[in-house]
């Protein structure tokens, strides 16, 4: 009699384990399904002028990282040639959000409208030149291919920079060249980020400041390897 009871109990436990296992697998499966992204929507105020998104920005970006249907691009330079120290800034990329890769906007096209005290940012070669009518002309045969490689049209594209400016300019560039504006988000600037995925690059020890640029997934362009459009 005792044995029968133990057999029944074991059988019930076994069945429960199977059911729990199936349930756990289903939960895991459903959590891996990607949630739909809200359409890009520009926030209000001055930040809205830069094109920063209302819903996906510095304070919410952690919820949207590591999506396989998306790419994440930080548009700053490691060291911006502009004299930002003249206006109390830091020309160096002092940190970034894990998951973002750096593709400097000043290498894509000219930077315009910087404060006078800063002087010029990078003034070297660029993939595109902006025309007076707001359109862009490719300077190299590979220019568009480069953009398509780092900003694939079949992915959602999350852009950021220091304050949201370069990111907004990048979105304008991409949309002007035929990208879908509803798949591109200007998530704002690193300076406002207080999330869990911060990677510090700037170090100050005993009053000496250094930068761990080796941590930064950075994509430079060797213009000598490209074919100039004649």
């Amino acid at each position: 009699m005792k044995n029968k009871i133990w057999i029944i109990i074991s059988g019930v436990l076994f069945v429960c384990t199977i059911i729990l296992g199936i349930y756990a697998i289903n939960i895991k499966g459903s959590s891996e399904k990607l949630s739909a992204l809200p359409l890009p929507e520009v926030t209000g105020g001055e930040r809205g002028l830069l094109g920063i998104d209302k819903n996906i920005n510095e304070s919410t970006i952690d919820e949207y990282l590591n999506r396989p249907d998306s790419v994440y691009r930080d548009m700053r330079m490691l060291k911006d040639p502009g004299n930002y120290e003249a206006i109390g800034g830091d020309s160096y990329l002092s940190g970034f959000i894990k998951g973002f890769e750096v593709v400097p906007y000043p290498l894509l096209t000219e930077v315009k409208g910087l404060p006078e005290a800063v002087g010029d940012s990078y003034t070297g070669k660029t993939l595109f030149t902006q025309n007076e009518d707001g359109t862009y002309t490719a300077n190299y045969e590979e220019s568009l291919e480069y953009l398509e490689y780092y900003f694939p049209k079949d992915k959602y594209i999350f852009l950021m920079c220091g304050g949201g400016g370069y990111a907004g300019m990048t979105k304008n560039l991409l949309v002007s060249l035929g990208w879908d504006e509803n798949k591109i988000y200007d998530i704002g600037g690193y300076w406002y980020y207080n999330g869990e995925n911060n990677v510090e690059v700037k170090k100050t020890i005993d009053g000496k400041t250094t930068y761990d640029f080796w941590k930064v997934p950075y994509h430079d362009i060797d213009f000598d390897e490209l074919t100039e459009v004649k």
Binding site: G44, G45, R47, D90, G163
Partner: protein
């Protein structure tokens, strides 16, 4: 029975007092009465004076009344707001402090003012009003001198 009535009345009184206190304290926080900044900020050349986070905290600790402009050095706008603010300062000979957002974010004021650029009005070391870079309602105050002046005059007296 009498005891119950007394207890209930006491409880009601306490609740009413608490509600009144809450309303009054909220009113105090908003404090829209005009006031004077500390005198050293008037009759000046009307320029920005650079400070860092330590200096700003010190001004707050000493309960000073002053105005601060915090900014990001990296982003430019179609209408440079610092020129709008500078125009007001020069017109009335009032000086503001300026602090980079990087330094500002290290101060206690970051709990209230989340984004740059912003102009923040302090009375006795407390923030009474500020421009919110995320709000459409404040956009015109960043871009139009008259709108900015009207907003400033809501809070501070111009000598």
């Amino acid at each position: 029975m009498k005891k119950k009535v007394v207890i209930i009345s006491l409880i009601i009184l306490i609740i009413v007092a608490a509600v009144i206190l809450l309303v009054v304290s909220k009113k105090d926080t908003s404090n829209t009465d005009k006031f004077y900044l500390d005198r050293e900020y008037y009759n000046t050349e009307g320029k920005f004076m650079s400070i860092n986070d330590t200096e700003l905290e010190s001004l707050i600790d000493y309960e000073k009344s002053f105005v601060v402009f915090t900014y990001l050095p990296y982003c430019t706008f179609s209408v440079p707001c610092d020129k709008v603010f500078a125009s007001f300062m020069e017109k009335y000979g009032i000086s503001f402090y300026e602090i980079t957002y990087d330094d500002f974010a290290k101060t206690s004021s970051i709990e209230t003012v989340k984004y740059a650029p912003s102009v923040i009005i302090y009375k006795d070391g407390k923030i009474v009003s500020y421009l919110d870079a995320n709000e459409d309602d404040d956009l015109s105050k960043y871009q139009d001198e008259e709108m900015f002046e009207n907003w400033m005059k809501e809070y501070i007296s111009i000598k």
